[in-house]
Amino acid sequence: MNFLHLARRNAWRKPLRTLLLMFCVTVAFLIYGLTASFLNGAQGSAGASDDLLGVMNAAGRTAPLPMAYLSRITSEPGVASAAYMARLRGYVNVEKNVVSVSAGDPHLMGRVNGKELGLTPELLSALGQTKDRVLVGRALAQAQGWVIGQRITVTSFQTARKDGSRDWRFEIAGIFDGENASTDTYFVLANYDYINAARARNIDSVDAFIVRPADGVSSGTLAARVDKLFANSAAPTRTQSEKQFLEAFLRQYADVGLIINLVVGAAFVTLLMIVINTMVFAVRERTFEIGLLKTLGFSGNRILALVLGETLIIFVIGGTIGLVLTEAVTVLAGPALGLFLSMTALMRAALFIILLGLVTGLIPAINAMRTPITAAFRAR
């Protein structure tokens, strides 16, 4: 037997109560883990690049830009490479099965953000072989159960074909994985020429240009210079990094970060109060035994450590289960939901487990430490 064993025995003397406390901790850390995974994942902005710049119409995301802007952007000093992109949003089979298609020039895409998307020369070559070929992100392919060689039809919400149809047929030429787990791969990459030649409106226009700054060039400074190029044109631009764009996009709906912090904060405060309250009562029930331990020679500090050890056991087991469940959810549903539990989030969660375990145990532990033996013996 050792002190940890003693703390464990104390924690398990009322198994139902301990299990319920652990359940509370599990739920709190599951909430924390999932929200952190959301922010770290493709749905949040944490995985987005701060280096890649997106040039869009200052009037809004849905307003097009002339293709002619490309040569002016490319010739701007400080631009390493630039690509263009037209967006097509639609659905496959049923309207709620929404799919996003980004159409561009395969070689320019490979040069600008091929590394981030994991676009190998083989994939780009496969994409370029025929105009209706597409590359599908791993997350989307897994979610839809698509395989290479399969033909798919995307029914566009807005982009109509010249024949009046909204159905766009593609053949899957390959699947791209993204640079790492936090990369958004829940979309389709298509050939711009195929979309542009067949669409009824906005011919020879793009939805955005993607710019990679040259080494040593500040992305903020370059963004300002690009916008200055078109300041007096018919379609002024707004240039932002990918990260800024995603953050601004999410802020259209709400301050996601603040909401998540409030939800996690509320969960932790509630948890703190429940566990403190329960532990105060649990330790008060044992006042006599604490007095007994003191007569055996257990010092106040040892009693303090014993109670803190007990709350730590509850938090470590409950918190670990919560994080394991989070990992399971991110692995099973991560590709579809864009969740990714990073090592930093995991370390932060581990720190929270220890801190909350100590903080919640502190009040009952100090009470136990300070109880005089004579008062403890009267508690029987």
């Binding site: 035994e289 331990l293 007569t295 055996l296 020679g297 257990f298 106040g300 004579t374």
Partner: protein, 235 residues
């Protein structure tokens, strides 16, 4: 704290004064108590309820401090120690045998006995050996894994005694150790205490209401209204 002096008594109480404030009034328990107990003695303290037996035991255990006077055990001045020092002193020099055994219900017999050993720098293997030895000494060999709730009162008290002697203390304080036992179990426990005193040289101070129990001690002190009024020595 002073160094232990071999020629001086093991336990010394000098001019001890102790009272309790109840409401606005101070109830005096001891006005000027003196006591000397040599090392290796087995002293029974008897007296009516309210005579101060439990208060005396608490002061000897360092659980309560006197209002005035000195309490020295083995040369250590308990009345001058702080709470932490008294805890450390108890862990190394003294154990208590309680009337109601006071075993921890979630620990089995062996784990209860091992508790005071956790406070000493003894390796786990040696702790287990020592626990086995003392349980054997109190006749509970083979019941190491048994929980207190499944033991008789006599068996629980034997575990209590095993716990008290496991850490090899110099002093055993017994608070009505047979008060909750039938005669036969009580005699077994008292025989055990006598054995610990005679064979292992433990100094024992036992508070009891039971004259039969007191017969096992080397001498019996009668306490009344905070004063020792009579002393009997065993034949």
């Amino acid at each position: 704290m002073t160094d232990r002096q071999p020629e001086s008594p093991y336990i010394t109480l000098r001019a001890v004064r102790k009272g309790y404030r109840i409401g606005g009034e101070v109830i005096s328990i001891f006005a000027d108590l003196h006591l000397e107990i040599p090392q290796g003695d087995f002293v029974a303290i008897m007296g009516p309820s309210g005579s101060g037996k439990s208060t005396l035991l608490n002061m000897l255990a360092g659980i309560e401090n006197p209002d005035a006077g000195e309490i020295a055990i083995g040369g250590a001045r308990l009345d001058r120690m702080g709470e932490a020092a008294r805890s450390a002193w108890r862990a190394h020099h003294m154990e208590i045998v309680f009337q109601f055994y006071n075993l921890l219900p979630m620990l089995n017999a062996a784990e209860n006995v091992e508790l005071p050993l956790l406070l000493k720098p003894i390796p786990a293997k040696e702790r287990r050996i020592r626990v086995g030895k003392v349980l054997d000494l109190v006749g509970l060999s083979g019941r190491e894994k048994q929980y207190p709730a499944l033991m008789s009162g006599g068996q629980q008290q034997r575990v209590g005694i095993a716990r008290a002697i496991a850490a090899d203390p110099d002093l055993l304080l017994c608070d009505e150790p047979t008060g909750d036992l039938d005669r036969r179990s009580a005699d077994d426990v008292l025989d055990m205490l006598r054995l610990l005193n005679r064979e292992l040289g433990k100094t024992i101070v036992m508070v009891t209401h039971d004259p039969q129990a007191a017969l096992h001690a080397r001498r019996t002190l009668h306490l009344d209204k905070g004063t020792f009024v009579e002393e009997k020595r065993a034949a």
